[in-house]
C-alpha cells in the first residue's frame, strides 16, 4: 500500500533534518557562541510565529486550511493594545491579563466567523483565509485611526518578566528562565498541543476530521463541531501570539504590513516544515526565531558589510530550500474540502 510513499517522505524528512542541522551549525560556527540572552531573544521572537503555527495545526488537521493566521495575529495584536487603552479609561484600569484575554476572545471570534464561512457557507478556504488577512490588514489601521487619530497606538504597559524559581538561578543559562509569561506559555504550548493531538479523544477526532471526515461522522462524532473547535482554537492561539507581540512591544503599529509583518505566514510555513507535528512546528518556529536572532547578531558583530536587507531574507530562502527537500508535506487528505453530513 502506501508504505512506499511513507518511506519516501521519511527519507525527505531526514534530508530536511540534515539540512536544518547543517544550516544551524554553520550559523553557530560562523557567528560565535550561543548564550543565554540570544536563546531568550530567539524564544521571544518565536512567540508569535510559534503560536500561529500551533494554531494553524489545529485548524488544518481538522480539515480547515487557515491561511488567515496573519490576519488573526493582527487582530490579536490590535485588540490587546486597544483593550489596554480602553481599560485605562475605565475604573478597572489597564490590566495586562484582561487585555490579553480580550485579544484572545477577539481573535477567536474572527476565527469563528471564518469557520462559519467555511463550514456553514462552504467558502473556499484559501480564498476566505486570504480575505480574513486582507480585512484584518485594513481594519486594524482603520480602527487605530478612528480611535487614536493615527495608525499607531500610544504606548501601553506590557507583561512583567517572571523568573522560574530554581532554574533562574542556574549559572550561565539561568537568565533564559527569566521570561515574560507568553514565552512560558509558548514553551508549554508545544508539548501540550502535542499531547492533545496525540493522546486525547479530541486529538483523534481532529485527525479523523481532516483525514477522513466521513469515517468520523459514521463513528457518531459531529465533524462540523470538531472543525469549529479546531478553527476557533487557531484563533485562540493566534490571539495569544498577536497579543504577546503587541504587549511585549507595548504598542500597536498599523503602518505598512502592520507590526505583525509576515509572522503569520512564517508560522504557516513553520507547521508545514514541522509536518503538522506540534513539536516539529515549534522547533521550526524556533528555527525562524533563531535565524532572526542570528541575522540581527551578524549585523552587529560581523566585519563583513553584508547589507541587512539581504541577511533579512535568509529565513525565506531557507524555507524555499527546505520545501524543495521536503516537497509535499503530508497534508491532511481532506483539508480544504467541505464536508457535509448526508443526513
Amino acid at each position: 500500500m502506501n508504505v512506499s510513499t511513507d518511506s519516501i517522505s521519511r527519507e525527505k524528512m531526514l534530508y530536511t533534518a540534515v539540512v536544518l542541522a547543517v544550516v544551524a551549525v554553520a550559523c553557530l560556527w560562523l557567528f560565535g557562541p550561543v548564550d543565554a540572552s540570544s536563546i531568550s531573544m530567539a524564544l521571544r521572537l518565536t512567540v508569535p510565529i510559534g503560536f500561529a503555527a500551533l494554531g494553524g495545526i489545529f485548524s488544518e488537521k481538522a480539515g480547515i486550511i487557515n491561511i488567515g493566521l496573519e490576519g488573526l495575529l493582527i487582530v490579536g495584536a490590535f485588540s490587546a493594545v486597544a483593550s489596554m487603552y480602553a481599560l485605562s479609561l475605565t475604573p478597572i484600569g489597564a490590566n495586562v491579563w484582561l487585555a490579553f484575554g480580550f485579544a484572545i476572545v477577539a481573535s477567536a471570534v474572527v476565527a469563528l466567523l471564518f469557520a462559519i464561512a467555511c463550514i456553514e457557507f462552504k467558502a473556499d478556504q484559501v480564498i476566505a483565509g486570504l480575505a480574513i488577512w486582507l480585512i484584518a490588514l485594513g481594519f486594524a489601521p482603520f480602527a487605530s485611526t478612528i480611535v487614536w487619530g493615527q495608525v499607531n497606538s500610544p504606548s501601553v504597559d506590557g507583561f512583567d518578566e517572571w523568573a522560574i524559581p530554581g532554574l533562574a538561578d542556574l549559572p550561565v543559562f539561568g537568565d533564559i528562565f527569566v521570561m515574560a509569561p507568553p514565552v512560558m506559555l509558548l514553551v508549554a504550548a508545544g508539548p501540550l498541543t502535542w499531547y492533545v493531538l496525540n493522546r486525547t479523544r479530541f486529538g483523534l477526532w481532529i485527525e479523523a476530521s481532516g483525514e477522513d471526515p466521513k469515517a468520523l461522522d459514521t463513528a457518531g462524532v459531529d465533524v462540523q463541531l470538531v472543525r469549529y473547535v479546531g478553527t476557533v482554537l487557531s484563533g485562540v492561539y493566534c490571539g495569544i501570539g498577536g497579543a504577546a507581540l503587541a504587549l511585549n512591544a507595548g504598542t500597536f503599529v498599523g503602518g505598512g504590513e502592520t507590526m505583525v509583518n509576515g509572522r503569520g505566514f512564517i508560522g504557516l510555513t513553520a507547521y508545514l516544515i514541522g509536518n503538522y507535528n506540534p513539536i516539529g512546528a515549534f522547533l521550526a518556529s524556533f528555527l525562524f526565531g533563531g535565524l532572526e536572532t542570528l541575522q540581527l547578531g551578524i549585523q552587529q558583530t560581523s566585519d563583513i558589510p553584508i547589507p541587512s536587507r539581504l541577511i533579512g531574507v535568509l529565513p525565506y530562502v531557507i524555507v524555499l530550500v527546505v520545501l524543495v527537500f521536503v516537497g509535499k508535506t503530508q497534508m491532511p487528505s481532506s483539508a480544504g474540502d467541505h464536508y457535509e453530513s448526508d443526513d
Binding site: 540572552s37 540570544s38 531568550s40 531573544m41 521571544r44 521572537l45 508569535p48 487614536w148 487619530g149 493615527q150 495608525v151 499607531n152 497606538s153 500610544p154 504606548s155 506590557g158 518578566e161 507581540l245 511585549n248 512591544a249 507595548g250 504598542t251 503599529v253 498599523g254 503602518g255 505598512g256 504590513e257 502592520t258 507590526m259 509583518n261 532572526e292 536572532t293 540581527l296 547578531g297 549585523q299 552587529q300 558583530t301 558589510p305 547589507p307 541587512s308 536587507r309 533579512g312
Partner: protein
C-alpha cells in the same frame, strides 16, 4: 483630515496642504514634528490646513497633485525625501503653486528646500553615548554599565539618510574614545517595534549602555527595551522624552531635527508674502536646524563634564574644527 485650524475666522487667508511621509502621524518624531510646525502656524497666523497621510510612497504623487490643483491652497508642504522625485515633476507642472520640501532638494523656483545636517546632531548624541559608557552613572530609570564600552545604533531601513545618522553617531563616539564598540543593526522596517526591541535587548545584554535609534515606530521597541533593561536610549527627530513621555526616565537625550521650524518658517514666509522659492536651507547645529536635546528627566542631572564637553564639540562643529562624516567607513 480636514477642518483643521480655527474654522473660518482666519486672520490671514492662507491655506496650507501638507503631505506627510509614510509612517504617518503618531510616529512621535518626524511627522509629528511637521504637524507641530503647522499647528504653531495655525495658532500664530490663524491659517487653515489640510493634510494627507500616504500609505505608500506611491500615494505621494497623487496627494501632492490633489493639493496643487486646489486653487485655495497657497503652499504644499512635502515632508520627507520620498517626495523629491514626484515634486520635481509636479513643481514644473504646477509652476504657480508654492511648495516646500523637507529633507531633500528640488531645483525649482517655486520650491523651497529644507535639508538638515543630521550627522551633526548625531555626532553630539554619539559623543554623549560614548561619554556615558565610560562613566559610572545612574539616574531615573537607567544606569550605565561601566564594565563594557559598548553603545548601539538601531536603524529602520538601511538607506543613505539613516546611514548618515549612524555615521555622525559613530564619529561622536570615536571622538570620545576610538575603542568604543559601536554596534549597529537595521530592523528592515520603520514599523516593527518587536524587532527594534529585540535588537536593543541584544545590545543591552551584551553590555551596551546607550542605544540610539533612527527607525520611526520601530524605535518604540528600543525604548521599551531600555526601560526593561534599566539602560539608556536616545531618541530622534523630536524630543522623544516629551513625545514618548512614558519612557522619559530612560531617554537621556534626543537628536532633534527641527522640522517644525522648517514647516513653520515656510508658512511664515507665505503669510508674510516673502516666499523665496528656489532657495535651499541647509540646517545644521549652527542654524539651530538640529540639536542634541537632553531628556526632560535628565535636564541638569548629567555630570557637568559630560555636558560641557558636548557643548565644546557643538562649538567646534559650528566653527568647522570638527568635520562630521556623512558615511560610515564600511558603506
Amino acid at each position: 483630515l480636514v477642518n483643521n485650524g480655527d474654522d473660518g475666522s482666519s486672520e490671514a487667508d492662507i491655506t496650507v496642504g501638507i503631505v506627510y511621509s509614510t509612517g504617518g502621524l503618531g510616529d512621535e518624531s518626524f511627522n509629528d514634528m511637521a504637524n507641530a510646525g503647522v499647528e504653531r502656524a495655525v495658532s500664530e497666523f490663524g491659517i487653515d490646513y489640510e493634510d494627507a497621510e500616504p500609505e505608500e510612497v506611491s500615494d505621494m504623487n497623487e496627494m501632492q497633485r490633489q493639493f496643487a490643483r486646489q486653487d485655495d491652497i497657497d503652499l504644499v508642504c512635502c515632508i520627507g525625501y520620498d517626495h523629491q522625485t514626484d515634486l520635481e515633476q509636479n513643481a514644473a507642472e504646477f509652476s504657480d503653486q508654492q511648495f516646500m520640501i523637507v529633507d531633500s532638494m528640488v531645483d525649482a523656483d517655486n520650491v523651497i528646500n529644507y535639508v538638515f545636517r543630521e550627522h551633526e546632531g548625531s555626532f553630539l548624541v554619539g559623543q554623549l553615548a560614548g561619554l556615558l559608557t565610560e562613566t559610572e552613572y545612574a539616574h531615573a530609570g537607567g544606569e550605565s554599565n561601566p564594565g563594557e564600552s559598548i553603545i548601539g545604533f538601531v536603524g529602520g531601513r538601511e538607506t543613505s539618510l539613516i546611514k548618515r545618522f549612524e555615521a555622525g553617531y559613530r564619529a561622536g563616539a570615536e571622538h570620545v574614545d576610538e575603542g568604543i564598540d559601536v554596534r549597529d543593526a537595521y530592523a528592515g522596517s520603520f514599523t516593527d517595534p518587536a524587532t527594534g526591541q529585540e535588537i536593543a535587548n541584544g545590545m543591552y545584554s551584551d553590555g551596551a549602555d546607550v542605544v540610539y535609534h533612527s527607525s520611526g515606530n520601530t524605535g518604540g521597541g528600543v525604548f521599551e527595551s531600555a526601560q526593561s533593561n534599566g539602560r539608556f536610549a536616545i531618541g530622534v527627530d523630536d524630543d522623544q522624552s516629551v513625545s514618548s513621555e512614558d519612557f522619559s526616565d530612560v531617554i537621556v537625550a534626543s537628536m532633534v531635527k527641527y522640522v517644525d521650524n522648517a514647516v513653520y518658517e515656510s508658512i511664515q514666509s507665505v503669510v508674510e508674502d516673502d516666499f523665496s522659492g528656489g532657495e535651499t536651507n541647509d540646517l545644521g547645529l549652527e542654524e539651530d536646524g538640529v540639536d542634541a536635546v537632553i531628556g526632560q528627566d535628565f535636564e541638569g542631572e548629567l555630570p557637568g563634564d559630560i555636558t560641557s564637553s558636548i557643548e565644546e564639540s557643538r562649538q567646534q562643529i559650528i566653527d568647522g574644527e570638527i568635520d562630521v562624516p556623512t558615511t560610515t567607513d564600511d558603506s
